[in-house]
């Protein structure tokens, strides 16, 4: 299928990209193109201008920045998976990124693109919410920082304005935490039907801190703060964990589609949260 006509720009700096965005009537940012190109090809969108971020070096890569990792928005999933800093301080993200599609998609698709795309079934937003990431958003009037809980506004909608760019994501270090991303799919290369991100700090025989967030259980990632609280202080064994997570899906509004209805998703979320927490404790 062939997209409608558009003008194409490939700036090499963030400033130039922002200028192009502010000048154009109807512009769209292109990152890895793994979500945007299908949308264009199906003609669900027909922007007049495409601003490709692929040549902006400053947007790529992972570095340490105090007690956080600073991740450039244009860092591909494959780099996140391989990056030793990510594996050490934010293993949850690498683990979840491994479940995305196939090698081609993982080499093209980017961390920032997946976050701004904000698909409720996407895996990256949930990890960012679970680990309490912060988002740096640049506009012509400067850069602002938005917390994870304010970043995802609705399905396919984030705090990033039409003429703004997500430039960097700061992920607080979770060094030494056990983590697990439990993704439920019918075929390997599928978006999450439901998934659960869990990260735990174990102290002695019990859970000292916990982060739990759910994918595709609402229009944005769901952070299960009540469950997190209940996990603290208990031993990570099957019965206790199952009891602690039993109402994790309460109050959620998951979708109903060909893969399952809302009730089934709520049931799945409960089962998978138990499994995710136990696996996080084990690894």
């Amino acid at each position: 299928m062939i997209p409608a006509k558009f003008d194409y720009h490939a700036p090499s700096t963030v400033d130039e990209a922002l200028r192009l965005l502010s000048e154009a009537e109807d512009a769209k940012v292109l990152a890895g193109g793994q979500s945007l190109i299908p949308v264009l090809r199906l003609r669900l969108a027909a922007p007049e201008v495409i601003v490709d971020l692929g040549r902006i070096e400053e947007l790529r890569g992972v570095r340490e920045d105090g007690d956080a990792l600073a991740v450039g928005a244009m860092t591909p999933h494959a780099d996140m998976i391989a990056d030793p800093l990510v594996r050490e301080h934010a293993a949850l993200v690498a683990e979840a990124a491994e479940t995305i599609a196939d090698p081609q998609v993982r080499h093209r698709g980017t961390f920032g693109g997946a976050l701004v795309h904000a698909d409720p079934a996407g895996d990256m937003p949930t990890t960012a919410v679970a680990l309490g990431a912060e988002f740096l958003i640049a506009g012509t009037r400067g850069t602002r920082t938005v917390a994870a809980e304010d970043f995802f506004e609705d399905l396919f909608t984030t705090a990033v304005g039409e003429d703004e760019l997500l430039t960097q994501v700061r992920i607080p270090k979770h060094t030494g935490w056990g983590s697990h991303y439990e993704k439920f799919v019918r075929v390997a290369q599928q978006w999450s039907i439901v998934a659960v991100a869990a990260a735990l700090r174990i102290d002695g025989d019990s859970i000292a801190e916990a982060r739990v967030a759910l994918t595709n259980m609402g229009s944005t990632p769901v952070r299960a703060t009540a469950v997190e609280q209940r996990l603290i202080g208990i031993a990570p064994v099957a019965d206790a964990v199952r009891e602690a997570v039993v109402d994790v899906a309460e109050g959620t509004h998951p979708p109903s589609d060909l893969n399952g209805d809302a009730d089934y998703r709520r049931h799945l979320a409960t089962v998978l949260t138990g499994r995710a927490v136990l696996a996080a404790a084990a690894g």
């Binding site: 006509k5 019918r186 290369q189 060909l258």
Partner: protein
């Protein structure tokens, strides 16, 4: 001139890598969409977004003046010349079929139907302009539910007066091939076992890898069409009849074709539209569908409701089967739409001997895309039904599913066996295949593990699925097709050209779309003529090169087309023998031919077939009256079908907490008769089994209540990839077919036919302790969980 060396005749049976794979796998080949012709134009189709409506207006003014556009064609522009797309299988004398226009004229009957076509300089311009065509629809109520459609409350085609296209009935008492099924049912009711079930064969989408593509060049003396089709010969004839072109003015080429699975066994609206467009503008035109279009409008498969009644004695001996089918035709009849469910009629009795059988099928129109052949076509549906029922019977009797099958199947010493459905099975050995599968599978150990898991209430239960199938291959004896009122024969043609240099060209009318004919035919002919494999070239897929043929479907190519090639080779040898005798100054009767060489019996005097070919070419010194050519042709029309069979065993783990099924072990032992190339056989089985697993677990074409295809992309229509399919253990037994001289049976559809019931039987077996006796396909985690919830609510529970 070549001197043919003596070689052992070992090509047949050798696992040769396929000679065609290099070009197919790299894609650097003649896929239709790769073709570029001088001055070629591009087409885009405007398709109906609604399932049923009157077309009140089509405004093409804006599209016509868009950049690059040469023409916009609407249904009313071509109403008088487009004819009606053909249905070659009127299954009943009073079969009802609506006119089937390539471009809808005043109404549309399913979402995706073509309402206009844009011809432009580039594909992009055609696509852009297609969005400017303004069509107004007056929507009408849609008919989607099969049972409701059959009740005729709302009509898809009011002019027909009914939604029922045809009814087709077979009854063993009437056919004198068995008893009366109602008697068997009454007896079962009075003290035997009666099993009544309704199964749904969900709608599937063939989802071949290469989307359909067509190029038409109208500029030569013959109009040439390249099409990604399975049926260049049938297509040529049908287009000639449909579009009123002399057959001799049309050349059809199926270049390399990337899969079909029956989905390219069709005369398509897109082919007709491209032909009409090219003739109108007088320049070559190309149309290639997008994946979305392909999923929406390339014909679908299956979609039947099967109401089944199985009668048996207390000991598990089956006494009769009654089958009532509702089959969804979709909105129109395609080439063999109406015949697909009827092919299944001959297979519900499968490998079993029961004496009474009744089959009744009602073909019904709805506002869905039309259905037609899809890998197995009628036989997977039938096999599923009977293999599921045999498991239900085993459960009822309290016997092992394999035992109950053995009690009922035809013993190997009972062949040839005339079935209750009137087919004559020539050969088979179900005992041997089952014994081998059972051992490879570790059947008894897995049953033990299953018992342990049940005992300890393991949340992950183990199930063992059994499927002992047979099928009919080699479609088809022309007389049988005639009796079933199919419009054509089932023969196949081959010719062999002995080139002056001793090389060999084999021309086959059965053109592959991924099956590996070039390799297999080369092996057969190399052996027969005693020439090196590399010296044999197989040509096909072009009505100019291979003027006669019946094409590729129904696991027919090898058993009919391969045998035709073999017979043509034998005729070459007969001719060559006359020349060789002349060269050797001997009598033809004194010659023997072996490994490519004619020798005078009892001497070392001889000559190679290559030398004979050269002698026939220069013709300087041939026997008096000998026509200087060794070339020969043969047309094979089979006397009977061939009947592959086998035993598939599938162990599944079902996670009762999530409903998820994982295939733990898959073993299949298939008897496809003599094997020409074991690698090709294994490849066909792997692909076939994967496709059957896909029906059991993953794939379903789903429409919403307005008639829009919801599973309209590969994100929602889940075709499994390699990682979603288990590693399989494949093995064989070899009981030669007696219906052809190679003893071959066909393997193209076997895996698909056998595997679906193996998987579903496994899932149901895993869940028996919870009181579950069926899970509708595809057995998605959600469905399995829902079934478990319902069973739990009704008092079931793990043992």
């Amino acid at each position: 001139m070549t001197v043919t060396e003596e070689r052992p005749t070992t090509e047949v049976g050798t696992p040769r890598r396929r000679k065609e794979d290099q070009r197919l796998v790299t894609g650097r080949t003649r896929w239709t969409d790769n073709l570029q012709l001088p001055g070629m134009l591009h087409l885009a189709m405007v398709r109906s977004p609604v399932a049923r409506a009157k077309i009140t207006s089509v405004d093409v003014a804006e599209a016509r003046s868009a950049p690059g556009v040469l023409a916009v064609i609407t249904g009313s522009d071509v109403a008088d010349i487009q004819g009606s797309l053909p249905n070659a299988w009127p299954v009943a004398e009073d079969q009802k079929a609506p006119p089937h226009p390539a471009i809808a004229v005043d109404q549309v009957s399913f979402a995706g139907e073509i309402v206009a076509c844009v011809v432009a300089r580039s594909a992009a311009e055609a696509r852009d302009a297609s969005e400017l065509v303004d069509v107004e629809y007056d929507e009408l109520p849609v008919v989607l539910d099969l049972a409701q459609a059959a009740a005729d409350t709302e009509l898809v085609h009011p002019d027909l007066g009914t939604n029922v296209s045809a009814r087709w009935v077979f009854d063993s008492a009437e056919a004198c091939s068995g008893g009366n099924v109602e008697d068997a049912i009454q007896e079962a009711r009075d003290g035997g076992i009666l099993i009544e079930r309704t199964y749904r064969q969900q709608r599937l989408i063939p989802a071949f890898m290469e989307p359909r593509s067509v190029v038409v060049d109208p500029t030569g003396e013959q109009t040439t069409m390249w099409s990604a089709t399975q049926i260049p010969h049938i297509l040529r004839l049908m287009l000639a009849l449909t579009c009123d072109i002399p057959e001799s003015k049309l050349r059809v080429i199926a270049p390399d074709v990337g899969g079909g699975f029956g989905g390219k066994l069709q005369v398509t609206p897109e082919e007709v539209v491209t032909l009409l467009a090219a003739r109108q503008v007088g320049r070559p035109c190309k149309y290639t569908e997008s994946r979305s279009e392909s999923l929406m409008v390339a014909h679908h498969g299956r979609d039947q409701i099967q109401k089944l009644t199985l009668a048996a004695k207390q000991d598990g001996t089956v006494t009769g089967l009654k089958v009532e089918l509702l089959a969804d035709m979709g909105a129109y009849l395609g080439l063999v739409t109406s015949g697909v469910p009827i092919l299944g009629a001959f297979m519900f009795n499968a490998i079993y001997k029961f004496p009474a059988y009744h089959f009744a099928c009602t073909n019904v129109f709805t506002n869905h895309a039309w259905t037609d052949a899809y890998r197995g076509a009628g036989r997977p549906e039938a096999t599923y039904a009977i293999e599921r029922l045999m498991d239900e019977l085993a459960q009822e009797v309290g016997a092992d599913p394999l035992e109950i099958r053995e009690k009922n199947w035809i013993k190997h010493e009972e062949f040839p066996f005339t079935t209750v459905a009137t087919l004559e099975y020539d050969s088979g050995n179900y005992e041997a295949a089952t014994a081998k599968a059972r051992e490879l599978f570790g059947y008894d150990e897995l049953r033990k593990e299953q018992a342990e898991r049940r005992e300890r209430n393991d949340p992950v239960q183990l199930g063992i699925g059994v499927s002992t199938y047979t099928e009919m291959c080699g479609l088809a004896p022309s007389r049988v097709l005639g009796a079933l009122s199919y419009a054509a024969g089932g023969w196949e043609h081959a010719s062999i050209r002995m080139l002056a240099s001793g090389k060999v060209e084999v021309v086959t009318g059965s053109s592959a779309h991924g099956q590996g004919h070039e390799t297999a035919w080369s092996q057969i002919v190399a052996d027969r003529l005693g020439v090196p494999f590399e010296d044999v070239e197989v040509l096909h897929g072009d009505t100019l090169v291979a003027p006669k043929g019946m094409d590729t479907y129904g696991s027919r190519s090898l058993v009919i087309g391969g045998i035709a090639a073999l017979r043509a080779a034998d005729k070459v040898i007969e001719k060559a023998k006359v020349v060789a005798a002349h060269m050797l100054e001997a009598s033809p009767d004194d010659l023997e031919f072996s490994a490519g060489k004619f020798t005078v019996k009892g001497t070392d005097k001889g000559t190679g077939i290559g030398d004979v070919a050269f002698a026939a070419f220069h013709a300087h010194d041939l026997p008096d009256g000998f026509e200087p050519s060794l070339d020969a042709e043969a047309t094979m029309d089979p006397d009977n079908f061939s009947f592959p069979h086998g035993t598939h065993l599938c162990a599944v783990e079902v996670d009762t907490e999530t409903g998820r099924t994982t295939i733990r072990k898959y073993v299949c032992v298939d008897d496809v008769g003599k094997v020409i190339n074991p690698l090709i056989v294994e490849g066909q089985l792997h692909g076939g089994v994967a496709q059957g697993i896909a029906q059991a677990l993953f794939e379903e074409a789903v429409y919403d209540e307005s008639g829009t295809l919801v599973s309209g992309s590969l994100t929602d229509y889940l075709v499994p990839s390699a990682v979603d399919v288990p590693s399989m253990v494949t093995d064989r037994t070899e009981t030669p077919s007696l219906t052809n001289e190679l003893g071959v049976k066909g393997v193209g559809e076997a895996g698909t036919i056998a595997s679906t019931p193996a998987v579903v039987n496994g899932i149901v077996d895993a869940l028996r302790p919870y009181g579950v006796s069926d899970v509708p396909m595809p057995c998605t985690p959600h469905r399995v969980w829902t079934v478990l919830q319902a069973a739990g609510a009704s008092g079931g529970g793990a043992a």
